[in-house]
């Protein structure tokens, strides 16, 4: 789902997340990589919402918490 064609955008997204104090882990999901799926605990929801406009400016249409990556169960 996440691949090389999205690598540059993902790198910029990671930098943006890091600057916002969020875990710099993101993958591009969806048919065209339209979803920025960020690996973070659910408690980071508010901070991620604040970062959403910046991520969308990179070309993502949707910004979301990745629920199937293990970050939730590990309580990271």
């Amino acid at each position: 789902m996440s691949g090389g064609i999205h690598a540059d955008r993902e790198a910029r997204a990671r930098a943006l997340l890091e600057a916002e104090g969020l875990p710099p882990r993101v993958r591009s999901l969806g048919m065209d990589g339209e979803i920025a799926a960020v690996s973070a605990p659910l408690s980071a929801m508010e901070a991620l919402r604040a970062a959403a406009p910046g991520l969308r400016s990179l070309g993502y249409r949707y910004v979301a918490l990745d629920l199937a990556d293990g970050a939730q169960s590990t309580g990271e």
Partner: protein, 275 residues
């Protein structure tokens, strides 16, 4: 003043329904069509009203239960017809005007029902607010001479909810529930299997006590949108349903940080259409 305005619109609706003489109501069991069917029953009487529900794999089971409950409770004459929009390749390809093909099938079938039952006018539950939305289905309605009495009377959603509450309709505060195909990203083929995935995923989320949400189907990924008001409840419980969604065949499950908004898959539509 507001109450007077609402009363005037209600009187206008009654006049429009009387001008229809007898009606075949496109009846989904949603807020608008339940109100319209009940208003038509009150104005025209049971022998001049037939609420007709088109059933297919894209019709949510939860909506069907509400539709049946309302006609039974209020004595609204009701008929169900099977619709077959999924066999239309134009519909199944899920273009941005998918609703046009679905509604073409629906209104064709309801036109047949109306003729067979001697009903003069086919009506739908489109309201005044719908005029501003992306609604290719409205084109099909016009092509089949379907009237929209609520829209003609200038009644918007909030007003229809208020009037529904006055009438004691259980739908007055029901969240909007469009067809399951509306959850599939444009361009992702509509199949019975994908519709089933969405319906079962939403059933799992409903068990958390959520009311206003969507599971958006992006191919391998389920993107959950929850209304901002219910986001705390979602955050508290969503991890419980992730295994269920994965077992339905999704490879990824994500929770949209901006929450539910009507027509979210229409975002970027210009880009899609241009592309």
């Amino acid at each position: 003043m507001a109450a007077e305005g609402l009363r005037a619109k209600r009187e206008e609706l009654d006049a429009i329904l009387r001008s229809c003489e007898s009606v075949c109501v496109g009846y989904s069991g949603g807020v608008d069509s339940v109100y319209l069917a009940k208003a038509a029953l009150d104005v025209l009487g049971a022998d001049r009203v037939l609420a007709v529900t088109g059933r297919s794999a894209s019709y949510p089971g939860v909506q069907h239960r509400m539709a049946v409950d309302c006609v039974e409770r209020f004595g609204i004459p009701h008929l169900e017809v099977e619709t077959d929009e999924l066999s239309d390749p134009n519909y199944a390809a899920n273009p941005t005007n998918r609703c046009y093909y679905c509604k073409t099938e629906l209104w064709s079938r309801l036109g047949e029902v109306a003729r067979a039952n001697g009903l003069r006018t086919v009506v739908d539950g489109s309201n005044a607010d719908d005029a501003a939305d992306h609604r290719p289905g409205a084109v099909a309605a016009r092509e089949h001479a379907v009237r929209s009495p609520l829209q003609e009377a200038g009644l918007g959603k909030a007003e229809i909810r208020a009037l529904s509450r006055e009438l004691g309709l259980p739908t007055w505060d029901q969240p909007a529930s469009p067809c399951l195909a509306s959850r599939l990203r444009y361009g992702l083929a509509v199949t019975p299997e994908r519709l089933r995935q969405v319906e079962e995923a939403e059933t799992a989320l409903r068990r958390l006590g959520l009311r206003e949400f969507r599971v958006r189907h992006h191919g391998e990924v389920a993107r959950i949108e929850v209304s901002p008001a219910e986001m705390p409840r979602a955050v508290a419980g969503v991890a419980e349903v992730v295994p269920t969604l994965l077992s339905l065949g999704f490879a990824g499950v994500v929770l949209d940080v901006e929450g539910y908004r009507r027509g979210a898959l229409n975002e970027g539509l210009v880009t899609l259409e241009a592309g």
